[in-house]
Homo-oligomer: 344 residues x 2
């Protein structure tokens, strides 16, 4: 397993990326290629207490860096020698099994779509993180890659999410729900009303296990294994969970520091609280693959620390080994859709 | 202050409605009219330990009940003698200052729009609950009344939300944010990209204090006082908060019951945990007015218990007294919009 890592992407680059790669390499033995400005990567290595690269790790020099302020649609093209573009080209050419990047989501998505390309027949890529729920977790597909969706895109997201839950989460018959604002079949906005019969037909045909509309609160209590959503609403849900988690932990912290008895109580439950926090911590997940792209391209959180980078590398390897992409390619026949004004 | 209450609406009707009305009347002294099947209301009164109605409370007999399974668009019309339709007609005719109902949201919204009517010039009604945030709370407008929105509807929701925050929450210059999937001006789906310049222009004209795009996680940390959203995404956010709150409290409960020391810790923080839960409990809010409707019509949660009903009655009185509707009517000049294919 060889993972290509954009060492220059993310708020804490290159330090966090390099430290994360060292940790992941040590724990997993995976080969890792650090892509970026060689002198900066070497400086970070020294700061991490390493005088030389361990065997199995290498540097691929790339002189440019895609910045968050760059136009996402064109950055990967204009900056041909950026760590992002070089990394994508490497994974496209088979010089590694997966590419991990914590840089601009938009630039990475444009690049992944145009450099590594989508799987033939898939109309749009989706980001599909696993969100914590009362039944262990659910794939939220899409959560930001494709903000404006057609009903056909949602149908394909259902297929992508279902295979992902099967292959990567190990759920044999994932329950696929349409994220909606009511549980009854007739609920929702125009997009959901048009998508529902498509998902139902796919369920009736035995291609997915469609369980109908699922509201966001039911979803959190474990109502489905796959939540099908347009990228806009999915992102609102994902960021709401992030925000409320942070807000609640802040409130709990305030409560535990309020008085001496409370501080004692905090000491007692400290370890368990840490476990709970871990369960809800996005950096524990680390990275999210772009589903529908023909090669494993994994987006790590922009604020990734070393732990998050190490986790993203492990997720990338898991995804590359899962057989997900081969599954989609093998079953693309029934997934193909025709959208208005667009050709296959 | 006279509040009209649909005694037959909600999962726990009429018992919870009657008990809640008794409590609210005792605490506030407001006059309350219970609308519904008289014999069922009297039976509930006896079950609450009351042999007769206290002075200031009365019953208005209405023989029909709008059920959740009724078609929301026509239920209020077909069931003319339902507690919902009778209550709406009463508030329309000035037989009370506000109407509170925990029945079907869709039926209540259709009824409010067609019986009491919208404020002249307002295109769509919005539901705008106050969600708990790190800065105390934010109005989420809309969160389910209007699932499919035009940019012009979002502009009007910004006005409605801003006046609501001013009049009901007492915030002098509410920060109005467009709920979006990125903070930069250029972020979002087609709807947000079209709405942004309208909100910006309203801000530049001094009609609102527009603070730009706000992501859901920033919103939870207190990034805005008003969150402008289409009803679909707003509902996804609201239900996500509900779901994650429930999920987290369940996890915390599990943690506190895990071991004897943890149980001791739980005892110590019990009171503070209760406070925290209260802070996050939707029944503490009780009810949400339909903003844009010409009379105070308040939707209470379908699962309202007596406490939630009592709170909804207090919120209804607060809303009726706030001067919000008069404010909108006085300022409708700059709020009027023209939508494609529709006439003013």
């Amino acid at each position: 397993m060889k993972i290509i890592l954009d060492a220059m992407g993310g708020d804490n680059a290159p330090m966090a990326a390099v430290q994360g790669a060292l940790n992941a390499h040590r724990d997993s033995g995976y080969d890792i290629v650090l892509v970026g400005r060689e002198e900066e990567i070497r400086k970070a290595l020294i700061a991490c207490g390493e005088t030389a690269l361990p065997t199995g790790m290498e540097i691929r020099d790339a002189r440019e860096v895609v910045e968050i302020c760059d136009d996402p649609a064109t950055a990967f093209k204009r900056k041909k020698d950026s760590s992002l573009t070089v990394g994508l080209t490497m994974v496209k050419n088979g010089e590694g099994d997966a590419f991990v990047c914590a840089g601009s989501t938009g630039a990475l998505l444009s690049g992944a779509t145009l450099v590594t390309k989508r799987i033939r027949g898939i109309r749009r890529a989706a980001m599909a993180p696993v969100i914590p729920t009362a039944s262990g977790g659910a794939v939220l597909c899409d959560c930001g890659a494709t903000a404006d969706c057609t009903p056909e895109y949602l149908l394909q997201f259902a297929f992508l999410g279902s295979f992902y839950a099967k292959r990567v989460m190990g759920i044999e018959t994932p329950r696929v729900g349409l994220l909606n604002i009511g549980a009854e079949d007739s609920k929702g906005d125009a997009l959901r009303l048009a998508a529902f019969p498509l998902l139902k037909a796919a369920g009736d045909a035995g291609h997915i296990n469609f369980v109908g509309n699922v509201e966001a609160n039911t979803a959190m209590m474990g109502g489905a294994d796959v939540l099908v959503s347009d990228g806009f609403s999915g992102n609102i849900m994902l960021k709401s969970l992030e925000g409320v988690g942070k807000f609640l932990l802040q409130e709990l912290k305030g409560m535990f520091f309020k008085s001496t008895p409370n501080k004692m109580a905090a000491l007692i439950v400290k370890k368990d609280m840490k476990e709970l926090k871990k369960k809800l911590d996005p950096s524990e997940v680390g990275g999210t693959p772009f589903l529908g792209v023909s090669k494993p391209v994994i987006k790590a959180h922009g604020s990734s620390d070393a732990k998050a980078f190490a986790n993203a590398i492990l997720r990338a390897a898991e995804y590359a080994e899962s057989g997900f992409i081969a599954d989609i390619e093998a079953n693309i026949g029934y997934m193909k859709v025709q959208s208005e004004g667009e050709k296959m």
